[in-house]
């Protein structure tokens, strides 16, 4: 597949932005600067970035509790994200949503979601809406291996398949739902095989290879836009961190974590881009330096922003 240079560069920049954003959040959360709790996307960067690179600005995504990567990949503003994580008035949701509930309808981001599997029917509804409005918009629905055992997975994909809806279901299989190894509670090896049950294409791919994710999603998005219905894409990946920050890692063998960290998605991609002449070392370093500077600005913005007025807790319920 011929991928435009600007897309290749955008994917590099976005993966770095996710990686460094999450690294900052890890440290700032540990330092006690953020309330609540956070689920980090470290290690899975190629999935969100490869998938979102195939979308237009007005296409939709639904996200999950581990959503920072999806929001950044779809073009989310890291200043507004960071401020929201700090619970500040200037955040995406004015401090009402936090880490798990960032939305930006201007970018088609229909929200991260704290309920596992709840995004699948919502994404399907966005797909039905696009089809009925004849808008040509495609929805990418991100969800995890755990969500694939929820009833909503099966209900939503059946509906999308029955009506040939323009939805791409991107399963991020990171092997564990909280602390339960998924192969202990699921018989089928590849979640992608469940596509057969709904007569839709199901692909299992390397979720740490951003080009593989991009190519699979590109084809699925084109199918969807052409009215040929949904696709299920299972991206095999791994989260470097525990389910949430602060959780002791009692359930994963350290050598498994180490092996997956060796297979991280960004460094090999950088090498490949340089080898192929898409990027020079200097350009690659400049992109990374710019990302770090942007994140410095985001943290500063979040720290300096005011807390919400207490009375604002009573606003925004009703339209």
């Amino acid at each position: 597949m011929d991928i435009p240079r600007e897309t290749l560069l955008l994917m590099y920049e976005r993966m770095l932005k996710v990686r460094h954003f999450e690294d900052r959040v890890k440290d700032l959360f540990a330092a006690g600067e953020m309330p609540g709790f956070v689920h980090l996307y470290l290690g899975q960067e190629a999935v969100a970035v490869g998938a979102c690179a195939t979308l237009n600005d007005d296409d939709f995504i639904t996200s999950t509790h581990r959503g920072h990567g999806h929001i950044i990949a779809k073009g989310g503003d890291v200043k507004l994200m960071m401020a929201e994580l700090y619970g500040k008035a200037t955040g995406y949701n004015k401090g009402k949503g936090g880490s798990m509930h960032i939305a930006d309808p201007r970018l088609g981001i229909l929200g991260a979601n704290g309920i596992v599997g709840a995004g699948l029917p919502i994404a399907t509804g966005a797909g039905l809406s696009a089809k009925l409005r004849k808008s040509g918009q495609v929805t990418v629905c991100f969800f995890g291996d755990g969500a694939s055992n929820q009833g909503t997975f099966h209900e939503a994909i059946n509906i999308a398949a029955a009506f040939d809806l323009p939805v791409v279901y991107v399963c991020e299989n990171n092997l564990y739902a909280v602390g339960t190894r998924q192969s202990d509670v699921r018989k089928v090896e590849d979640i992608a095989d469940r596509g057969v049950g709904y007569a839709i294409p199901g692909l299992a791919i390397d979720g740490n290879d951003v080009i593989a994710v991009y190519e699979a999603c590109k084809e699925a998005v084109e199918r969807a836009r052409a009215g040929m219905g949904p696709t299920l894409i299972e991206c095999k990946t791994y989260r470097w961190r525990t389910h949430f920050e602060g959780e002791p890692d009692t359930y994963r063998p350290p050598e498994e974590v180490e092996a997956w960290m060796q297979r991280e998605p960004i460094a090999p991609y950088r090498t490949k881009l340089i080898e192929q002449g898409v990027l020079t070392e200097a350009q690659a370093s400049k992109i990374e330096a710019d990302v770090l500077a942007e994140l410095d600005g985001a943290v500063e913005f979040a720290r300096q922003s005011p807390h919400p007025e207490p009375e604002s807790a009573l606003e925004d319920l009703w339209a």
Binding site: G97, A103, A123, L128, R133, I159, D316
Partner: protein, 325 residues
């Protein structure tokens, strides 16, 4: 004025909104050529076609969630649940998603959807086709809950619900579908959150809603012959609840009976009693009484169901007790 059945009035409301606004879409089980389990959507598929009146698979969480996603992206879905008992299956999408979204996202996304569902007993349909869950959804911040009692109200309230930019749950009592009433030919809407005094009276206030309005009006006629003048306040919308109307009627009669078909614990009737205690205690001459179902699932046998659910006699007895004090 012409008369329509409750079901016809609802169907007419949807037809008018479908004609008026291209973003209005209906979906549910058997609502297409079949016309809906209670016939409410009859003729709509023929007029508006399969892209506006859509038959869904049996997937309550799935197609309710589709409503949330569609409402967030430019449509106004009106979803029919075949029986409200199955709302439990759809509840995550209503309670954690639809109700929360606007607030949780800081006002960035609105969810203008309506979920319609038949409710209620008196059908010998036992415990999974009769229950009423309006109290559960009234408890939730971010949902509006409507239960009309007449064809006129049904049409005007449903049109308002469809035009509302928030998620609205619209419960239609099965015993009302075939009832007839006057419905104007000309366009009208009825605002959500406004009660209606269905019978003026001076001695005792009954606050009620849905099918219990007609039971309460029948009880009031019987009591009138005994010289007890009953005022019947139909809440119509239980969330937001019309506190002013409740308090105004108590100030007039000084006696309150709350009539509600379903269970009483932590229910709409509890809320009405709490409003009376907080805002009108000084005007009450007697303790508030409630006529509700017994706290058991609805039984199958007509004899048992009659025992469990409220009826005219139970309402009459309660009003006599507060009136005689």
């Amino acid at each position: 004025m012409r008369t329509l059945t409750f079901a016809q009035a609802l169907g007419e409301a949807m037809a008018e909104e479908l004609r008026r606004d291209p973003s209005v879409v209906l979906w549910g089980i058997d609502i297409g050529p079949y016309g809906g389990a209670f016939g409410v959507t009859q003729g709509l598929h023929a007029e508006f076609g399969p892209e506006r009146v859509i038959d869904m698979p049996v997937s309550e969480a799935g197609y309710t969630g589709c409503g949330v996603g569609a409402a967030a992206t430019g449509l106004r879905p009106v979803i029919e649940l075949q029986f409200s008992d199955w709302i439990t299956i759809a509840s995550d999408q209503l309670i954690n998603q639809a109700a929360n979204m606007r607030y949780m996202f800081g006002g960035l996304i609105s969810v203008p959807m309506v979920l319609r569902a038949p409710v209620g007993g008196y059908t010998s349909a036992a415990a999974q086709h009769t229950h009423m869950f309006e109290s559960i959804f009234s408890f939730v911040a971010g949902l509006k809950v409507v239960l009309p009692s007449t064809p006129h109200d049904a049409k005007g309230l449903l049109k308002s619900a469809i035009r509302d930019n928030n998620p609205v749950i619209f419960f239609e009592h099965n015993q009302l579908y075939a009832t007839e009433g006057e419905v104007p030919e000309e366009e009208y809407t009825i605002p959500l959150g406004k009660a209606d005094v269905k019978r003026e009276g001076s001695d005792v206030t009954i606050v009620t809603y849905s099918y219990m309005v007609s039971k309460s009006l029948a009880a009031a006629e019987k009591l009138a012959r005994e010289g007890i003048d009953v005022e019947v306040v139909d809440l119509r919308t239980v969330d937001p609840i019309d506190e002013e109307a409740i308090v105004a009627s108590i100030k007039k009669t000084h006696r309150l009976v709350v009539v509600q078909e379903t269970w009483r614990n932590c229910s709409v009737s509890s809320e009405v009693a709490a409003i009376a205690a907080e805002k009108a205690l000084d005007y009450l001459d007697e303790p508030v009484l409630r006529v509700t179902a017994h706290h058991v699932p609805t039984p199958f046998s007509p004899v048992l169901e009659e025992y469990v659910l409220p009826n005219e006699e139970k309402i009459v007895a309660a009003v006599r007790r507060v009136a005689g004090g």
